[in-house]
Symmetry: C2
Subunit: 376 residues, 2 copies
């Protein structure tokens, strides 16, 4: 496991508990989350006050964004943005920490809307936003269909979080030209994740996808959005040059793809405790993961038909879930996915190890790859 030295000076308001000892990626994330959450909730508390000046009822929406943040999340995207900034030589720690709120609030928006599209009840082991507002309808003793209210309010809570993400960028205390250039990448990130999500949604309504189609969805929906663009945003705000951006891309795409392939493996073979939602939900939703697509490619005609009828079956039984798992294992698809994710992580690690980056931040990027190597 790589060493991560102290990232922070003894500046005011910052805890420098993150010392010179050897720490791994999870420790870095835990340390980062602590600093980050203080800024996040201080920003959201301020927004809640502003909302109350318009009308106390609008606090429902900000309150929901706060609840969503309190329910968990590892702050992976802001942590990558932070690492991109620090490893590119940036030194304005408090400023970058504030700016990283943008990618988390954007992600909150994306998750709230995704949960509506997927009709999910749980997120991080708690009610999803539309379900929470459905409950609020009852608590407030409102008229009309409570599910319709839940849907409308959740769309708006997502939209509001998006709007907050934009505000952060407008107010980010960096030289204007850097903000403008970074914002171009932020715009790209938002557009690309919508395209990636559309391909993913569309895939769910098709009978089959090819491996290339799945990898493209992983690239746009996860790799660019979770790793590449956050790193780029940090780099741009630090004034990094083209070479650094390019190295970040070559690290981020395979790392992000590997991360999602692992998530899909956990989503089918993991426990509810590990993933915060029922372990059969990917199969129930008919998610065209690489696991499923590769199994479809390799399976006998009989097993192909079984996969077609069981993946996406809303009332799929426990035995049927077991059958799907067994086919994924026996076709060699599970093995293929595990090996592919390892190879992708190897590539990512090689790129970042050789890149000209400051050791602070760079070490986290190496540690992130190392951590994923041990994850499944």
């Amino acid at each position: 496991m790589a060493e991560i030295p102290s990232l922070l000076p003894n500046s005011s308001g910052f805890e420098t508990t993150y010392g010179n000892e050897a720490r791994d990626a999870l420790d870095y994330l835990a340390w980062f989350k602590k600093q980050f959450d203080r800024q996040l909730f201080s920003f959201l508390d301020q927004k809640k006050k502003e909302a109350s000046e318009i009308d106390p009822q609008t606090q429902d929406l900000v309150g929901e964004i706060i609840r969503f943040g309190q329910n968990g999340g590892k702050r992976i995207r802001p942590a990558f943005m932070y690492a991109g900034y620090i490893s590119s030589g940036g030194q304005a720690h408090e400023a970058i920490l504030f700016a990283t709120l943008s990618v988390e609030l954007l992600h909150t928006f994306a998750l709230i809307h995704d949960d509506i599209m997927d009709k999910s009840d749980l997120r991080r082991g708690q009610l999803t936003t539309h379900r929470q507002f459905t409950k609020l309808h009852q608590l407030k003793n409102l008229r009309g269909k409570r599910e319709d209210f839940g849907l409308a309010a959740a769309i708006l809570a997502g939209d509001l979080s998006y709007s907050f993400a934009e505000e952060i960028f407008t107010e980010a205390p960096f030289p204007q030209e850097r903000v403008r250039r970074a914002r171009y990448f932020f715009d790209q990130m938002k557009t690309q994740v919508v395209y990636g999500q559309y391909l993913d949604v569309l895939g769910g309504y098709k009978e089959t996808l090819t491996e290339d189609e799945v990898l493209k969805i992983l690239e746009y929906k996860t790799a660019k959005y979770t790793v590449e663009r956050p790193l780029h945003l940090g780099a741009m705000l630090a004034g990094a040059d083209y070479q650094i951006l390019e190295a970040f891309s070559r690290y981020a795409i395979p790392l992000g793809q590997a991360f999602q392939i692992q998530d899909d493996i956990l989503g089918t073979f993991g426990s509810e405790k590990e993933i915060g939602k029922p372990a059969d939900s990917d199969i129930k939703e008919g998610k065209k993961t690489l696991l499923v697509v590769k199994a479809m490619e390799l399976a006998s005609q009989k097993n192909k038909n079984a996969l077609k009828s069981l993946v996406g079956k809303p009332d799929v039984t426990k035995d049927e879930i077991e059958k799907v798992r067994k086919i994924i294992e026996e076709t060699g698809s599970l093995d293929y996915c595990v090996k592919l994710s390892r190879e992708l992580l190897r590539q990512a690690k090689e790129v970042v190890t050789g890149a000209k980056l400051k050791p602070e931040g760079k070490n986290y990027l190496i540690a992130a790859a190392s951590y994923l190597e041990t994850r499944i």
Copy 2:
């Protein structure tokens, strides 16, 4: 009717057919729409090409935003932004025209999401976005529930249009400091319209609202969003001072409230042809318009109960609609709303007539008020 002189120099790419004759607000809007739409569809065509480079299927989303734009809309918000810029002395006509795409694309996002929340089938006499994607599901021969696909794709098409609105701002060819200050107002506009919409949604699920609550919704959902903020955005990009911003606010809020009160009158008493959707939809949806709220306040107990049971009744009959209309008329609510909208327009006109603004643009603002005076 006020005179509007030529707004534009003989610059390349612009038609200067808008001459020195006396024209009214509708002529100005028609002229503006022609210039504006050329930029809008050229921008969207470019985006469609970019989308096709990611994956040809993502063109569905951009294609839907194009279809939405082609189905109509008067471009009121960009026209106000343009007028705000010109009347503040701005002279970069092509640059401001490009920048005004931002408020229209933001509005496209808001309407697409509103139609989902209201479960509307028609917008501007054509299918709403979620209904259009429901149809696409059939055309593409996809699996699964077509309404679920329609909902998911429409949420994404809205999100994409929002993202385009942001891109426009990032690329707006104005001095960076002005863009940043204008963007602060843009952020406010987005946040406030979400709060306004939430209050409106919430109102739909309550038994009654007060007149003050309705006026607050009109202020946030319509007046600020449709008139005040677009004027401010134009003014900021022209480098206008505080006095101009303040005059725009005092013009915009009453004008916007009057406009919405009129819309609500047309939405209950107008014809389907005038409003592009069935003339009973406001009553069917249970919209708490000022018309309804005032009638509730003034009606006898018997008529109060009738309003409560009929407004928002999904299977309301033609006779029942007529009964609601009759109560609104007989209580004096219709008369009250007509008079209030006239008084608000008088205030708006007085403010803008006395404001220190360039005659180009200012004349449109006067003409807009004059036009609304003749609308109902």
